[in-house]
Symmetry: C2
Subunit: 219 residues, 2 copies
């Protein structure tokens, strides 16, 4: 189909350019010329640039959330109501994230997009992602709660965001960091390498000793 071809070509080109330069820094003309598509095609098929951005995310997040929900279903079934260990939860999350874009060989694009979703202004994007995909995140954190009963709720809340920051920050700045790492340590780092490196760090961080009591004030 011709329209499908155009739509797909726009999405393929847009996601790469967005990941490389950000949303505001990527013009529709850059996208359409690189995709060999007429300028008006974006507004015709997507309506607006905002909608194009959301469509780029949906193409990744829709399959991801479905896979992740199914993986969590299986995990819960396997443990039959018992608490699921932290490592397995993290493993399942990482697995679902890694699976999705493997087909298009663009995991790094996916990660970079997630980073942009947080760091770029684009209020509409955060709202869209929260409303559309907030549910699966809520489900995941509820399971994490069961897996880490020793943590006070507020402490777990903050530590989850510490780790979320690690992941998003690292992947969204991946290109730059990779260049440095490659130059200094002479090894090419793949996203899978980073996930492997992240695993023990995240587990250790979640299980770190509690900070000194809230009331103990010192200079």
């Amino acid at each position: 189909m011709a329209q499908n071809d155009t739509v797909t070509r726009i999405l393929d080109t847009a996601e790469v350019l967005f990941a490389e330069r950000g949303f505001a820094e990527t013009s529709l003309r850059t996208i359409t010329s690189k995709a060999k598509v007429n300028l008006a095609a974006v507004n015709y098929h997507f309506g607006s640039k905002k909608s194009l951005i959301q469509a780029v995310f949906a193409r990744y997040l829709d399959p991801f959330t479905e896979r992740f929900h199914r993986a969590l279903d299986a995990l819960e079934a396997r443990h039959g109501g018992q608490a699921i260990p932290l490592e397995e939860l993290l493993e399942t999350l990482a697995g679902s994230v890694l699976e999705v874009p493997a087909e298009r060989n663009s995991l790094k694009v996916f990660m970079r997009l997630l980073g942009l979703a947080y760091s770029q202004a684009q209020g509409h994007l955060r709202r869209y992602i929260q409303e559309e995909y907030g549910g699966v995140f809520t489900r995941f954190t509820a399971l994490i709660r069961v897996a880490t009963p020793e943590l006070p709720d507020s402490e777990r809340f903050w530590r989850l965001h510490f780790m979320l920051g690690s992941v998003i920050f690292t992947f969204s700045g991946l290109e730059a960091l990779r260049d440095i790492a490659e130059k200094d340590y002479d090894e090419h780092v793949t996203v899978r390498d980073l996930v492997r490196r992240l695993r023990p760090v995240v587990v250790a961080a979640m299980q770190a000793p509690l900070p000194p009591s809230l009331n103990a004030q010192e200079a």
Copy 2:
């Protein structure tokens, strides 16, 4: 002085707007109108928008690097050539970061700007920061290296960036996160609270067990 007043007003306004919306999303007209300054003033005093962005960073990073260097001098002198414990290095870093913007009460702006420096495209910014302030970071990582001899160089490199991500992400999204935490856990979180919570997490993350060997491939 009038020119100083104009320059300062531009910088004060620009840093807030940049932090809120990003660089590309903030126009010179928005800055100058909010700062009650003529549009041409930016190009007159700074030369270009790029230079303005760099100047915004310099106003934070210049005092910070100087303070941090002095603090590291003192720390090294105190240990007289002996290895400095990881905890003390982190403490010194945290202290220097917290000190600088305290005067202008804009720690969150500082943090958000640091986050943008990494996540936004703006190649010139990364180059500028690297060339201008790479030295102090190199010095710090060299000390961290001595404090964590058990870590392979590349592993330490990545863990440092994991933790950098935690800090920048958390503080740059502090406003939103604080609201949630306050609502859900009924406690007001100060920046110092977060630093206290971060300390054991960062230490545990740096001391986490090494990931399985690079060559061990599994499904």
